[in-house]
């Protein structure tokens, strides 16, 4: 099924794009990550221009997160108060990120910075998650329970002033911590074209110490708003949002998100986390190799 993408100026196989969206949707519903960290590179690999890929992937992540937020709301898995603070930080981050994007683009180093950021973040977070899930799996096998993890936020978070009560997250902490977290994820959304879920989820668990039952839902809630703003920013500045591409991705991903959310309830969280860690590490490895090996294309064209 050939579909012509009017903004990307390219003809693609529609079914491949729908399938790609579906895969990302499943990841999104299962792990609470947007899936943007895979969509964008895969689209570029398929021949879609990088800017169009990042801009259109953002709107796909929006759709997948709405779908996921609904699924999680039904079982009370969204802390709206915490989400609100994260979104506020995210909006600020997006604006700063847009400025950074332009500076790096003028220097011609945006691709390198994007790749390096990906490798560093995916590598460290993937490693952290993998080692943790391996530990808990080993504990399950031997039957010896791990020393109960004290669900505590990071000492630095505890030192911040003004404390708020976040009932659903089971926290009494300063809103500055999630605000800062949202800010960082906003910058990353603009730079990398991702929702930032794969950073948010571990950060919420390990830095803020949020209750695990609301982490995925709240992360999706934040991603939803940040990607909406990112889509608007792209539409107004780069004009690279391809509505046909976004629609194809959406068809796949909204359905996938529902399937993923249902699957997440059945699967054991330890295995889920190990699977996500494996995916994240694989992507990081691929990107790291890409940095070191001679690239296929030595030359790159950009309009003046």
């Amino acid at each position: 099924m050939d579909v012509y993408l009017p903004i990307a100026n390219l003809s693609v196989n529609g079914l491949v794009i729908v399938g790609l969206g579906g895969l990302m949707g499943i990841l999104s519903g299962m792990f609470g990550v947007g899936g943007g960290f895979l969509t964008t590179p895969l689209l570029i690999f398929y021949g879609v221009p990088p800017t169009v890929a990042a801009a259109s992937a953002a709107s796909q992540v929006t759709g997948a997160s709405v779908s996921g937020v609904f699924a999680h709301t039904r079982r009370g898995g969204v802390d709206y108060q915490m989400g609100g603070v994260l979104v506020a930080g995210g909006v600020l981050g997006t604006l700063v990120g847009a400025g950074l994007f332009r500076i790096l683009q003028e220097l011609g180093q945006i691709d390198t910075v994007i790749n390096l950021l990906y490798v560093i973040m995916l590598g460290s977070i993937g490693g952290l998650m993998a080692s943790e899930s391996v530990q808990s799996l080993r504990a399950m096998k031997t039957g010896r329970p791990l020393p109960a993890r004290k669900r505590r936020h990071h000492p630095m978070v505890a030192n911040l002033p003004f404390r708020w009560r976040f009932y659903r997250s089971g926290l009494y902490i300063s809103p500055l911590a999630p605000l800062l977290l949202g800010f960082v994820s906003g910058i990353l959304t603009m730079l990398l074209g991702i929702g930032g879920g794969f950073i948010m989820v571990p950060a919420m668990l390990y830095l803020l110490g949020m209750s695990a039952s609301v982490v995925v839902g709240t992360s999706l809630f934040q991603i939803l708003f940040v990607t909406m703003i990112a889509t608007m920013t792209h539409a107004l500045t780069t004009k690279a949002v391809d509505i046909v591409l976004a629609l194809l991705l959406l068809i796949g991903s909204v359905a996938g998100a529902q399937i993923g959310a249902q699957f997440a309830q059945k699967a054991r969280p330890e295995y889920l986390r190990l699977a996500l860690a494996a995916i994240v590490l694989l992507v990081a490895l691929r990107l790291a190799l890409g940095l070191g090996f001679r690239p296929d294309e030595i030359y790159a064209i950009s309009p003046l």
């Binding site: 050939d2 937020v69 107004l236 976004a246 070191g292 030359y299 064209i301």
Partner: protein, 250 residues
């Protein structure tokens, strides 16, 4: 009187030596609409003596199809501290978005380098107008890089067997345009070459334009970006919501 007659004879003979080209293109407008996967353009025509008889000699035909030009910056990657990054760059003021050369024989057998460079016959002779003073070696490296990159995307083509000439009169050439072609005015130039000299040239234009829904989307994204962006956001939210509702029913 006799001299006058001789002169006329000479003039007509001289004129008779330059043949005329009657070129035509299969489509003067290429419509980019849903399902567009690229197209094949047939460039054909006849080569005749001015009096309409078959040209006495055989001519070589070279067809050049050139897309709209744009200013680009070309970046070159290099390994710095173990990582491949964009290191060097150069700017070209007139890099064509599409360039295809078709001929009946290898260009180097038809004309010398000087003529080829004047008429842009062949990818090595593209006039890219680099900006700023850079040394020739570096310039050659960059243009070779650009040509190679575009050639692999089939946006630059050089096919030295694509033109067929039948009975010394009719010629035809097929040029494939991939789906990634830019919209705009393309010029198709046809050259008749004999003994290393261009004896007749003729050009025509082909318009590549988006139509219908594709045109509407491209325009909206460019001119009504606020509404376009809002629509994209509303569409994604609505689809996500709809899927949520549908699956809740199941």
């Amino acid at each position: 009187m006799r001299i006058f007659l001789a002169l006329i004879l000479l003039l007509t003979l001289g004129a008779a030596r330059d043949p005329i080209l009657v070129p035509e293109v299969s489509q003067h407008e290429i419509q980019v609409r849903q399902g567009f996967t690229g197209t094949e353009l047939l460039l054909f025509g006849a080569i005749l003596n001015p009096d309409g008889t078959r040209a006495a000699r055989s001519y070589d035909i070279v067809v050049v199809l050139k897309g709209p030009v744009r200013s680009i910056i070309l970046r070159e990657k290099a390994k710095v501290a173990g990582v491949w990054i964009n290191a060097d760059s150069t700017e070209f003021r007139s890099a064509p978005t599409f360039f295809a050369v078709a001929s009946s024989r290898p260009i180097k057998d038809i004309v010398d380098d000087r003529t080829a460079a004047i008429y842009e016959l062949g990818l090595p002779w593209l006039q890219l107008s680099p900006i700023g003073a850079i040394d020739p070696a570096e310039q050659t490296r960059f243009s070779a890089g650009l040509v190679d990159l575009m050639q692999r995307q089939t946006l630059y083509q050089q096919n030295e067997t694509a033109v067929t000439v039948s009975a010394g009169v009719l010629y035809q050439a097929r040029i494939k345009l991939p789906s990634t072609v830019q919209t705009g005015t393309y010029t198709a130039e046809t050259f008749a070459i004999s003994r290393g000299k261009v004896v007749a040239a003729s050009s025509t234009t082909v318009e590549v334009r988006k139509l219908g829904f594709e045109r509407f989307v491209a325009r909206a994204a460019d001119q009504q970006s606020l509404w376009y962006g809002l629509f994209a956001v509303v569409m994604s939210v609505a689809m996500g919501w709809l899927a949520g509702r549908l699956f809740a029913l199941i």
